[in-house]
Amino acid sequence: MFDLTGKTALITGASGGIGGAVASALHGAGAAVALSGTREAPLRELADRLGERAHVVTADLGDAAAVEALPRQAAEAMGSVDILVNNAGITRDNLFMRMSDEEWAQVIDVNLTSSFRLARGVLRGMMKARWGRIVTITSVVGTTGNPGQGNYAAAKAGLVGMSKSLAYEVASRGITVNCVAPGFIETAMTDKLNDEQKGRILTQIPAGKMGAPDDIAAAVLYLASPQAGYVTGATLHVNGGMAMI
């Protein structure tokens, strides 16, 4: 249904569960993809599996210079960047009273500031092309809050405000800026939870199960598609009904 033939997409955090699924979905719809992450081996593995139109561009998103260089590297590999998926994210959970400045700063730098820098870096090409898609993966906790995740929730809520502001600025240029907010998704991040924790979470999810990375990828694919051209400044919540907002 959604055809991205001829489009180019940069996906950060592509070695993770959600990032990998997003990259596969966009690639499956015909887009060329630049897979970004800190570790090259899993990215290379994914690129080999996808085959043609898949490129690897490693970058540590905590490193400002590396972030600045990333859009240019991706454009060199693919010719342009039509679609940016800000997916990379880290957690440094701690109770507020115990949270260090460093734990706060790391999460804000990687999750929020790098997304700002990447979006700024890809805008010039999108403005000239009069077409662009910026999709940022946020989280249900950016809206609801979560104990132990003051830094993470702040970054995720910050991304929503950032995306809406940018959406205003560039809407007249054919560029849309949206967010996808996952609830509990089966990934390496949630594998760490024990059965009791998972059981407790499931009681709060009307759908009665955790989501899959593909559920998020489908939402990103839609927002990246030409069909979603009139959707901007929105957050699409994909959480099995856990928070209806």
Partner: protein
């Protein structure tokens, strides 16, 4: 100088969709030629490409009129 002026004028006319005779020395991009703030950013980007120069943000802010643009670019390419 006139060559630069012509090339700048062409970009302004194309980008803002205005008549050539409106693009005079003192014509302000925003007040007289209907540009919004994003248009001015795009104009600067177009000038950079056309002339192969870098226009830093603080310089870009001083380019308010067609004449400003021609003057800056003439200086930068001299």
């Amino acid at each position: 100088m006139s060559d630069i002026s012509d090339r700048v004028k062409k970009i302004v006319v194309e980008h803002l969709g205005v008549d050539e005779e409106k693009v005079t020395e003192n014509a302000s991009f925003i007040d007289d030629l209907g540009a919004d703030s994003l248009d001015t950013v795009e104009l600067v980007m177009a000038f950079e490409e056309e002339f192969g120069i870098e226009i830093p943000d603080d310089a870009a802010e001083t380019i308010q009129t067609f004449g400003d643009a021609v003057k800056f670019i003439s200086g930068a390419t001299a």
